[in-house]
């Protein structure tokens, strides 16, 4: 006979707890708005936001916009991952390059890159390329830095194991350095992809072109607050999807944490 597992140790408990807290938060906001403690012209009652969903979906073509933003985010993610990881590897391989540029890359990571959008508008025009390139630019530095950190942080003894088994340079990289660095690289990817997504939606909003960012802009102009928040929920959905994909990728590349 097995003892029943306590509720708090079941596998789905964290998810239930998370959703429960979220629901409690929504209900609390609803209550605070109705009690006039929160101003309903700044924060619409959550029930209005939920009520706005059908309207946003049917009248504002949110699915097409969602698809557009999601595709831009996907394109930027792929680019930023390829170039970010490659950049980190280059900096790791060439000490001179690293010494020369590491501080610059770190500085770029902290800069408000979204302010570069006028320049990109001039270069690429008012189109999806500008948006993807803005996302790419914003997400690049953290991935480069974290890739470099992960590779340099590989334990000496693991490298020595490879050397004692006479690995070639490329085997040493693919079989030891890269897998050892993967968890850190993925931390960089999560950061970089967040930066990219923020910038994608932000630039859509600023240049009034493209997917969800533009929709949020329009709804806000019309002072349709419930609709604005409903549209923001779709941005969150994009971010959830991007994260689920990276998690999948990580599990596939490195089965044991």
């Amino acid at each position: 006979m097995t003892r029943p597992v306590p509720f708090s140790q079941r596998r789905y408990f964290p998810a239930v707890l998370g959703l429960g807290s979220f629901a409690a938060f929504v209900i609390a906001v609803e209550f605070l708005v109705y009690a006039d403690i929160l101003n309903r012209f700044i924060i619409p009652p959550p029930s209005d936001v939920i009520g706005a969903f059908p309207r946003v979906i049917m009248e504002e073509h949110v699915l097409a916009r969602f698809t557009q933003t999601a595709l831009e985010a996907l394109a930027a993610s792929v680019l930023v991952t390829i170039f970010g990881v490659a950049g980190g590897v280059l900096l790791y391989q060439f000490t001179l390059l690293r010494r020369a540029t590491e501080t610059w890359v770190a500085a770029i990571a902290a800069a408000p890159l979204v302010l570069m959008y006028p320049l990109y508008l001039v270069i690429f025009g008012r189109n999806a390329t500008t948006i993807v390139m803005m996302g790419f630019t914003a997400g690049l530095a953290p991935i480069i830095l974290k890739t470099l950190e992960g590779l340099s942080g590989t334990r000496r003894v693991l490298i020595n194991v490879g050397r004692s088994f006479n690995l070639t340079r490329s085997q040493q990289f693919w079989k030891i350095l890269f897998p050892a660095a993967l968890p850190t690289i993925f931390v960089g990817m999560r950061l970089g992809l967040i930066f990219a997504l923020i910038n994608i939606v932000g630039v859509e909003y600023l240049i009034n072109f493209g997917g969800l960012g533009q929709l949020i802009n329009e709804l806000a102009e019309r002072y349709d607050l419930a609709g604005t928040y409903a549209a923001i929920c779709f941005v969150i959905l994009v971010s959830i999807i991007v994260f689920a994909l990276t998690e999948r990728l990580e599990r596939w590349l490195r089965p044991a944490g």
């Binding site: 693991l158 004692s164 088994f165 050892a180 089965p255």
Partner: protein, 289 residues
Amino acid sequence: MTVVAMPSGRMPGAATAEPILTVDNIVKQFETPDGVLTAVDNVSLSVRPGEFFGVIGPSGCGKSTLFNIIGGLLDGYDGTVRVAGETVDGPHPSIGMIFQEESTFPWRSVIDNVAFPLEIAGLPKSERYDRARHFVSLVGLDGFERRFPAELSGGMRQRVSMARTLAAQPKIMLMDEPFAALDEQTRLLLGDKVLQIQQELKQTTLLITHNITEAVQLSDRIMVMTYRPGKVKRIVEIDLPRPRTSEIVSSEAFGRYVAQIWSDLREEATRGLVEDESRKLRGGAGAPP
């Protein structure tokens, strides 16, 4: 350096056999913030094919440094290392190493860790898993093939790295305290296993250990090293009959060897402690907080 010649005759022709590994006048210094530190000072030794060579010495005397030099992982030293007469420069294919630190690959399961050198050698999948399974079971990890290192104890992980090096079947094995994380019983049993493998494969084995019993149980000769700088204090020939098992530990001859090595080692360990203490005192006096 004193070589204690014990009445021998056990290995006919041993003295004339070409040494498989020769180390000549190795000196290794490290630049440290407090000046130059001589880790290995003029160490020479030569090991016969199939010999089990123990290395024992106080902590910090340069044993691991010496192994890293023989294994081709360190450069910037004086002296030469030769394998079968040929000077080595970098990792030599006939040398396999088991490291003192935890060295399993956390992203590979036990079986994939052990199969690693076979994968590098390009063996077909089924063959390398068959061979890897054999070595996993040899170190007593049957049933753990699919586990990852994070799910194992420290001693189990050490056995995984041991199986990984064994699987490559190197002619010369350098083992840096492979049993340190094990309890006494497992240590003795695994020692028997290592001896058995070593005899079967006629491997030449160099073993670093802090455990005198273990050294005497396993070795044909034991090199005792001095406290810093690490020099050869004595090389002791262990003239006990083979095949040996852990039962030999209770014999009288065994006890004599242990006592002799212990007295050598106690001198060095005491000197080490005294030097460390006085260095601390000197460093502590007058130094600003």
